[in-house]
């Protein structure tokens, strides 16, 4: 389990580096965000929720086929999207002011 950062989408803003609870994300030589030790990722998704460009996804294993989870953090909501082989298979929206019912 780890995050994956897309170099194509990364805009080098550095927000993800400054939020990782393990300080695991550092810029590569060109300045793109990079997780240097994916096996140390806790899967908290703090970076995903901070990235304004949708460049970060969470996967449960390192296989290319594994489902990717993305988060779009809006003012009132977080929109969670699940992508499998470039196809959206599910979308769930959580409301920030709405408490858990369970």
């Amino acid at each position: 389990m780890s995050i994956r950062i897309s170099k194509e989408s990364c805009k080098q803003c550095g927000l993800c580096s400054a939020v990782c609870p393990g300080a695991l994300i550092v810029p590569d030589k060109e300045g793109y965000a990079q997780i240097d030790e994916p096996n140390k990722c806790w899967g908290c998704t703090a970076c995903m929720k901070t990235c304004p460009y949708g460049a970060i996804a969470l996967t449960l294993n390192s296989e290319a086929s594994s489902t990717k989870l993305y988060a779009e953090n809006e003012a009132e909501t977080i929109k969670w999207t699940f992508i499998e082989s470039n196809k959206e298979i599910e979308q769930i929206t959580t409301h920030k002011k709405e408490s858990n019912k369970y």
Binding site: W42, G43, F82, I92
Partner: protein, 559 residues
């Protein structure tokens, strides 16, 4: 590479900017004029246990309950070995901090009359996805608070038997810090990663407790000779298999039965099973061939399933991802559960610093709150906040009454640097870590032995851990990033040594799984006391301490 040395002075140093640390900084800032430094290993916005979020505040005094009944409940859960004075003082402060969080914008589920909707007697349901940024925002951009991020603290500064600050280094640069302070408050997490985890290898950090909590807060105190308590009580969580996500959301809210592979409710013979008993019976089912074990969720409605997806996204997103990826949600398949590896954590169990009623440790100038503070289990998030408040009040009092003067000498010592220099011997630190985890797993009551240990096994563990520590202390690294990784292992090895000594000192089985002594499988009421320890150059000295009453004010007798 050149090294940079910086010395800074402050009134109060807070080691660890997690739940308790952020809140302590807020309280100290609001209630005094003291200058504060918060030393944070990563970044305060999401660091610590609350990184992903949390679904409920599990320590709250609900309707019909009182601080007295709460204290009695915790005593029962831990078979009497808790510090009643500490537990009671936490209980009395819980509801105030919950109200404070609500006022600051934490969404809490409410009934029609505006009261909090309870999950059981002691939990309120929240949207805690954003709880850590809420705590961190309160200490950001304050004139008297200096937050230093990516600063790893590695030792306390001691002067005439008083603690007057700490040494640290920055992770990404070769910068060393000496922070001199009148008071030092340890608020780091406890220790994960000492035992072999459920999922070693690629997903080694797929665990319940923050894998970044590597026992530094314990280790600096152990090395400085602070008295520690109850390290024999490890904490083992019952979690969802593979993702190690929490089970309370399902077990408590849906009242799901715990069933074995034959579909039998294996907790049906317990009247009100304690947390330990739920774990123990799950272990027994597996041991006796009736596993795997499940929470029965098959047949829940689609609406409930949808709400569970949301609940987990706000706390443990990998669980929702796992359900979606497999295409089989909890309405279609029961949720398999398992016990985790043991952790040392004073927010759930009782291992940590031995403190007086106001959270002063046995070393003058050193205070503890939250997961590193011992004797007060099941305090959880809100209890950690209450403890931060209590410790802050003690610090303000001790500084204002002139009890703490800070460092006197201007000695320019920089210890440690033996490991650090121009040469890096390229040691594989991951191998060192997994050796430690294997030793503890096999010989000190890990998952492999169903948490049970024997005295002979502990002797083996002690010898092997000592050897590993010698090896770790001889490793040479040439960057502070590597030094940080090395210290995360050295710190855990010190904690491991203390765990082993404590496990061997309790010659009974007081809490199954948490402390299960194969040579002494029964409870022995002659051992209704605390087991404490002090790390000395000659070895670890074990002492026993009597239980402390609820209304009693416990003070250290400094020698």
């Amino acid at each position: 590479m050149s090294k940079i040395y910086r010395t800074i002075k402050t009134d109060v140093l807070i080691v660890g900017g997690g739940t308790a640390g952020c809140y302590a900084a807020k309280v100290l800032h609001n209630q005094s004029q003291l200058s504060l430094v918060v030393a944070e290993k990563a970044f305060v916005k999401r660091s610590g246990c609350l990184a992903a979020g949390v679904n409920a505040l599990n320590a709250y005094i609900g309707p019909g309950e009182t601080p007295e009944s709460h204290t009695a409940y915790i005593k029962r859960e831990f078979d009497d070995i808790v510090r009643d004075d500490l537990v009671y003082s936490v209980a009395k402060g819980l509801n105030d901090v919950v109200d404070e969080l609500a006022n600051e914008g934490l969404p809490i589920l409410r009934n029609r009359d505006g009261s909090y909707a309870m999950r059981g007697k002691r939990s309120v349901k929240i949207n805690g996805e954003h709880i850590k940024p809420l705590l961190a925002d309160a200490i950001t951009n304050k004139e008297r608070i200096t937050v230093i991020e990516q600063l790893q603290i590695y030792d306390l500064i001691k002067e005439n038997n008083r603690v007057v600050g700490a040494y640290g280094f920055l992770k990404e640069e070769n910068v060393f810090y000496r922070i001199l302070a009148k008071a030092t408050l340890v608020t780091t997490g406890g220790a994960a990663g000492i035992y072999k985890p459920n999922n070693p290898g690629e997903s080694g950090h797929k665990m319940w407790y923050s894998p970044f909590n590597t026992g530094a807060g314990y280790a600096i105190g152990i090395r400085a000779g602070a008295e520690m308590t109850t390290f024999e009580m490890r904490f083992i969580a019952l979690r969802i298999k593979n993702t190690i996500a929490p089970t309370g959301t399902i077990a408590q809210s849906l009242n799901s039965r715990h069933i074995n592979r034959f579909g039998d409710d294996y907790l049906k013979d317990y009247d009100r099973p304690t947390t330990v008993e739920r774990l123990l019976q799950t272990v027994i089912e597996n041991k006796e061939g009736r596993g795997p074990c499940y929470l029965e969720t098959e047949g829940i409605s689609e609406a409930v399933e949808r709400d569970l997806y949301k609940a987990y996204l706000n706390m443990a997103p990998s669980q929702t991802l796992s359900w979606i990826e497999s295409g089989v949600g909890p309405s279609k398949a029961n949720v398999e559960i398992e016990g985790t590896e043991p952790y040392s954590v004073g927010g759930h169990g009782a291992s940590g610093y031995w403190v007086d009623s106001l959270r002063r440790t046995t070393l003058s100038g050193l205070y503890a709150a939250g997961d590193v503070c011992g004797g007060s289990p099941k305090k959880y998030v809100t209890g950690c906040l209450v403890e931060a408040k209590i410790a802050s009040a003690a610090i303000i009092e001790d500084i204002e009454t002139g009890k703490l003067q800070g460092a006197e000498s201007s000695s320019d010592k920089w210890p440690l640097t033996e490991s650090f220099g121009d040469q890096d011997d390229g040691a594989d630190l991951m191998i060192l870590e997994s050796e430690m985890q294997s030793i503890m797993d096999k010989y000190a009551g890990g998952i492999t032995t169903f948490y049970e240990y024997t005295i002979q096994g502990l002797e083996e563990a002690a010898a092997r851990i000592d050897k590993l520590l010698d090896k770790a202390l001889s490793i040479k690294v040439s960057s502070t990033k590597r030094l940080g990784e090395l210290y995360e292992i050295i710190d855990r090895l010190y904690v491991a040594k203390v765990i082993i000594r404590h496990l061997s000192a309790r010659k009974e089985t007081r809490w199954s799984c948490y402390q299960q002594n194969g040579d002494y499988p029964a409870k022995d009421d002659c051992q209704r006391h605390f087991i404490n320890s002090v790390y000395e150059p000659s070895g670890i000295r074990i002492l026993t301490r009597a239980l402390v009453g609820k209304e009693q004010t416990y003070e250290h007798s400094y020698q």
